[in-house]
């Protein structure tokens, strides 16, 4: 077992006893990054000097017996998190030279715990995409099959776990951007409840949906990372002041009597056969563990993708208005007046998918269409939320696939945006409802590609989905498999 194979809790044990130093752990990670990065492309920026300085500071803390679970643990962040003094691009050319003047609260919390930042991870441009193909810095490749996408938009965050380039990572999830890449890369990905984690210093895509969460090797690490970043932040008025429970204590290993809902709208005829069979065996495992199954219905599931692509693009068109070439980011060299400067700076800086979503969102908000598209979508969102409220009256968690198929091939869906959007059909409803969901390794396709299951919880029900995910992990060994690298 190499250092880069370890989970947070395993590495923590070695750091605590002095068997491994934080500098050794970070050096091992940096070497690993150098070795596999040419094949995978998980990173946009690696920060070795900063990382080694962080690690040396962690070793001083450990020597003084001041050790937290994350002290000395080498982490990496999606390039959507502002990191003071370290370039942050959000996967876009428009922020190619942007060095943030302050840091995201979630990053500050990890730093205070003594974690080490290895660098910034590749992603779809402004988190808009399901494959990492919209990144201006090249598509990350799936460590399980390098001809395939890692998923998106937190593709680098998932690939870095599968390729053993970081012990844990943070991503963001607006319509599935943590859970779907976690499923495609065989790691654990948690999207917490809307408001659970501060978004201060996280570059905004769709503000009523965006949420921060961890991608990790196992469920225990997911609980550790969530505990580190969760909680109310006075700097984020949408973060909610709900007490942060002891997530590690929730991992009891027993789920006897847990009521699991199976929504009929998610187990559809078109589901990939390998995904269906992974779900069948997951249901069997849960039955053996003492769970009870309840057939439920989420009747508006089929409307979620349409609802999402109106709400998310409308919010994006507004959020991305700030990229005007005035205060930061790319400014064109060919403008004679202010309007030309705006238009050319934006058009030179944004990629095709970002332009497409800004266009769609602007259209949905424009005079004459606002009620028919944007307000209509907000009303359907209410119906989708009601579906979940009703379903949770009879069940504790909902079990579904994460994605309808395993990872698709690079280039397979780039010419058909609608097909790409439909690949998020099982993850989007969770964001619209504002609740939490976790992706857990649950098997492999005939081609050897990872398949994840999704557990959806009640709002602020992270303890329950973590407990259910952990029990599944204890009963299976899918999370122990390693990508062939």
């Amino acid at each position: 077992m190499e250092i880069y194979d370890l989970t947070i809790h395993e590495l923590h044990d070695k750091l605590k006893t002095g068997e491994v130093s934080a500098v050794e752990a970070t050096s091992a990670m940096l070497d690993r990054i150098e070795t596999v990065e040419p094949q995978i492309g998980s990173f946009i920026t690696v920060a070795p000097e900063q990382a080694l300085a962080d690690a040396a500071a962690a070793d001083r803390r450990i020597a003084a017996k001041d050790i937290d679970l994350l002290t000395g643990i080498p982490l990496a962040l999606k390039d959507i998190f502002l990191t003071e003094g370290i370039r942050t691009t959000c996967g876009s050319k428009i922020l190619n030279n942007f060095v943030p003047p302050y840091s995201a609260t979630s990053f500050e919390k990890l730093k205070q715990a003594g974690a080490v930042l290895l660098g910034k991870l590749n992603q779809d441009e402004f988190a808009m995409g399901s494959s990492n193909e919209s990144s201006a810095y090249g598509c990350t490749r799936n460590p399980w099959d390098q001809t395939r996408i890692p998923g998106g938009s937190s593709g680098g965050s998932a690939a870095a776990i599968a390729a053993r380039q970081a012990t844990a990572t943070l991503g963001t999830d607006t319509g599935g951007s943590i859970r779907q890449p976690a499923s495609h890369c065989g790691c654990v990905g948690l999207k917490p409840t809307y408001g659970r984690v501060s978004r201060y210093g996280v570059i905004a895509y769709a503000s009523s949906l965006d949420q921060v969460g961890p991608l990790t090797r196992d469920v225990t690490d997911s609980a550790i990372m969530l505990a580190a970043v969760a909680g109310h932040d006075p700097k984020d008025s949408t973060s909610v002041d709900v007490a942060v429970p002891d997530y590690l204590a929730a991992l009891t290993g027993t789920i006897k009597g847990l009521r699991i809902g199976l929504p009929k709208e998610y187990y559809i005829a078109g589901l990939d056969a390998d995904v269906q069979s992974a779900m069948n065996s997951a249901i069997e495992t849960y039955r053996r563990l003492g769970a009870e199954f309840v057939d439920i219905s989420l009747p508006h599931t089929d409307y979620a993708v349409a609802t999402y692509y109106l709400i998310a693009t409308a919010e994006a068109s507004s959020n991305l208005a700030r990229y005007d070439g005035v205060r930061f980011g790319h400014r064109t060299e060919n403008a004679d007046n202010l309007l030309e400067m705006y238009c050319k700076s934006r058009s030179e800086g944004f990629g095709a998918e970002v332009k497409r979503r800004i266009m769609l969102g602007t259209y949905a908000l424009s005079a004459g269409y606002y009620d028919a598209y944007y307000v209509k979508a907000q009303k359907v969102r209410t119906l989708i939320m009601r579906d979940f409220i009703q379903a949770f009256e009879g069940v504790d968690v909902i079990l579904t696939p994460v994605a309808p198929t395993p990872a698709f091939r690079i280039g397979e869906k780039t010419n058909d945006p609608l097909q790409m959007y439909l690949s998020d059909i099982f993850t989007i409803p969770v964001n619209l409802a504002g609740t939490c969901g976790i992706s857990v390794p649950a098997g492999f396709s005939a081609d050897g590609l990872p398949i994840g299951l999704q557990l959806i919880g009640k709002p602020f029900g992270e303890e329950t989905i973590l407990r259910a995910a952990h029990a599944f992990e204890q009963a299976t060994d899918w999370h122990m498999k390693r990508a062939p690298l």
């Binding site: 009523s208 349409a306 980011g329 705006y342 050319k344 058009s347 259209y363 209410t382």
Partner: protein, 95 residues
């Protein structure tokens, strides 16, 4: 629903984007397909349904009105593409 290149041009102007002819044609076709797909929302009767703009019910999020140290001019200007003294410089606005 048929999105034309002229529609695309109008929306691009609202969004402060300058698109090539190739992009205009591509986006016209793709927006047309996506908007045709979202038409399915019209199947649902939403009379009397309140729109949701935020997933978690919240009261006004106020804080104490206490002054905190600002980020400072130098930090705020550090990323500016063009500056003059303590200002961002932009092309002439008033003729």
């Amino acid at each position: 629903m048929k999105i034309t290149a002229a529609n695309v041009e109008h929306v691009a102007r609202l969004a402060r984007l300058e698109l090539s002819d190739e992009e205009k044609n591509l986006f016209a076709g793709q927006m047309d397909a996506i908007l045709a797909y979202v038409e399915k929302l019209k199947e649902l009767d939403t009379d009397g349904v309140l729109p949701t703009s935020h997933a978690v019910p919240m009261e006004n999020a106020f804080r104490e009105d206490v002054t905190e140290p600002p980020i400072g001019t130098e930090k705020a200007l550090a990323n500016s593409p063009d500056r003059a003294d303590a200002f961002y410089r932009v092309p002439q606005i008033i003729e």
